[in-house]
Amino acid sequence: MSSVADRDLRISKLTKEFATFTAVKSLDLVVPQGSFFALLGPSGCGKTTTLRMVAGLDTPTSGSIHLGDLDVTYEKPYRRPVNTVFQNYALFPHLDIYENVAFGLRRRRSPEVARQVDEMLALVELTSQARKKPPQLSGGQQQRVALARALINRPEVLLLDEPLGALDLKLRRSMQLEIKRIQTEVGLTFVHVTHDQEEAMTMADTIAVMNAGVIEQMGSPTELYENPATTFVANFLGQSNLIAGKIIGREGDVVKVQMEGTVVSIPADRAHADHGDGWVGIRPEKVLIAPAGQPIDAPGNHMTGAYVTDVSFVGVSTQYLVRMPWGQELMAFEQNTGVRGIIPVGTAVDVSWRPEFAFLLDASQDVNAGIEEA
């Protein structure tokens, strides 16, 4: 492993204290070489500070940052093989696009500047704009210049600080795919900081969810989404129904939980608590409903006595709010496959889900963590 992964970005026990608060608390992180890594979290969670420390723009209070065997913790920014795509691009307004892109090469007296700049401008499809000044370009074009300006230096790690934040939704979607394509093409390590969970899931191989200076959970987008380990991750990454329950105990490879009169089974590898109280979590699209008495295609966890309190039709899906007998409202998202019409408000329904989709969280955590930030 070590021979292959000798240019990994390794962050250990990284801490950054400011006068009044601690932005990053003893952060440990390994970003494998060539991967697309996202640091996801609400504003103020320390993700940008982490990025700035990797770039050398902020000095850590303690801890270390390594690129392979190279210790860059206190290296000057202009001496580390790391480049940044800044949040508002920070393009040099007095230089044209060509010179902006060539900036890093010229500082390093790199040979063949012209060929490299031409190639890079072709990659981001801006060849025809080379002699324009940044303010003459659209937001999406400026974004691509910022990307090209950083990429052309072939850094060990490319840092992207909310690079799409200033773009409108449609442009953002296409730029996400564009950046992902370029990353695959050039094969460099990308570390992407964002507060947009959809953006992180679309682009990254691995996501680290950050909250209050620490990493809550790290994994592939599917792992994080399907098996969140904390209430913060469950709420920040998509939405979750969290239902209070009493953990009965482990039986084989499931954990049994007494939940409002029903005993539900949760796969042991999805149970992040094993005794006392717990939150039973289930994603809204995994919650199946049907008018009372009609069959539901989900064995086990069958609950009756619920009724629909709200229906939102959003095109691809219909989002229901269902009031359970114990008073809690659950979200249930149903694809509009056309198999069944929309269930009207007030209809009595049965509710169920496949046990393998549920997850179990420690009840000591705030059930609303991460909701308002998402």
């Binding site: 770039a55 050398g56 723009l57 000057k76 920014p77 202009y78 001496r79 790391v82 480049n83 940044t84 800044f86 508002n88 920070a90 393009l91 040099f92 307004p93 007095h94 900036f103 890093g104 500082r107 390093r108 000044k133 303010p135 300006r149 950083a150 230096n153």
Partner: protein
């Protein structure tokens, strides 16, 4: 825009003009035009006329308009030395102002923090006292028994009999002091506008702090440099107070000569000619300078 048949496609025509509308613009520039007319065009015309009077006239006998263009040639012949001195002193003072002013403006803009406003007020504070008084007080500062001369003599930069007062050094020091704020303020204005992230970006792109300064900060501050050097050089080149109070007969600048010609010898024609020449030289230099500095190309 009036609706027109598409096949006609003439260049877009201004809509039927309502005369009142059209006049509004002229009414709006009227105060400015009057001001310029009254305080620039008329005096300038008068000065130009004076410069072409018969040089043999006098205040008592009156001056005849003889379109005596030789006045200009005579003025250059007689006074080329003070003219060159004006440009030289003003140029040196402007350069010193640029260096000092840039350091000061840079420090205030980037390191000033919460003291910025106070520091700017301190830059402007000397204006609360009269220009003459401030220049007079430099006489005391640079006096032969003053602390500056004492200090310089004690470290043997100045010899025991050397002096500062009544030397070109004193005149240039006075000019530098008096016009420094005119350099600092425009420099501060353009430095303060520079986005700190651009300098971070330069560092991120392998520029050391020194190179980041010359590749990013300096070019972005050029509008301030151009404005500041003009605001310093132009009045400094026409100044006569500093040379009169801090200089000697051999440091006379064009302004001193003009003043003497007008007030002492009453040689209005020569004074006018010299004034016009000084003005033309400055305008010419400014135009050449602005053209090479090319501010329109900058943001």
């Amino acid at each position: 825009m009036a609706v027109q048949a598409p096949e006609a496609a003439p260049p877009p025509r201004a809509p039927a003009v309502r005369p009142r509308r059209k006049l509004t613009g002229y009414w709006l520039i009227l105060p400015g035009a009057l001001w310029l007319g009254l305080f620039f065009v008329v005096p300038f015309y008068s000065l130009l006329a004076t410069s072409l009077y018969d040089p043999n006239g006098s205040v008592l006998g009156g001056y005849d308009m003889t379109y005596h263009f030789a006045n200009f040639v005579d003025a250059i012949k007689d006074y080329w030395e003070p003219l060159l001195r004006s440009l030289g002193y003003a140029g040196i003072a402007t350069l010193i102002c640029l260096v000092l002013g840039y350091l000061l403006a840079y420090a205030i803009a980037f390191k000033g923090g919460r003291w910025r406003t106070l520091l700017l007020v301190l830059v402007i504070a000397p204006f609360f006292t009269s220009f003459l008084l401030r220049t007079l007080s430099w006489k005391l500062i640079l006096a032969d028994d003053g602390f500056v001369v004492d200090a310089l003599q004690s470290v043997h930069i100045l010899g025991a009999d050397d002096r500062l007062l009544a030397t070109p050094v004193a005149v240039i020091a006075g000019l530098t002091y008096n016009f420094l704020p005119f350099m600092v303020l425009p420099l501060y204005a353009s430095l303060e506008k520079i986005d700190g992230r651009l300098i971070e970006a330069a560092g991120d792109l392998y520029a050391s702090p020194v190179r980041a300064f010359f590749k990013v900060t300096w070019p972005l501050s050029l509008p301030g440099v151009v404005a500041g050097t003009l605001l310093t050089f132009i009045p400094a080149a026409g100044d006569y107070v500093n040379a009169q109070l801090l200089g000697n007969p051999n440091t006379r600048m064009a302004g001193n000569v003009i003043q003497d010609l007008f007030t002492k010898t009453s040689d209005y024609a020569a004074a006018g000619a010299l004034s016009v020449i000084l003005m033309l030289i400055i305008v010419g230099m400014v135009m050449a300078y602005v053209r090479t500095a090319g501010t329109e190309d900058l943001v």
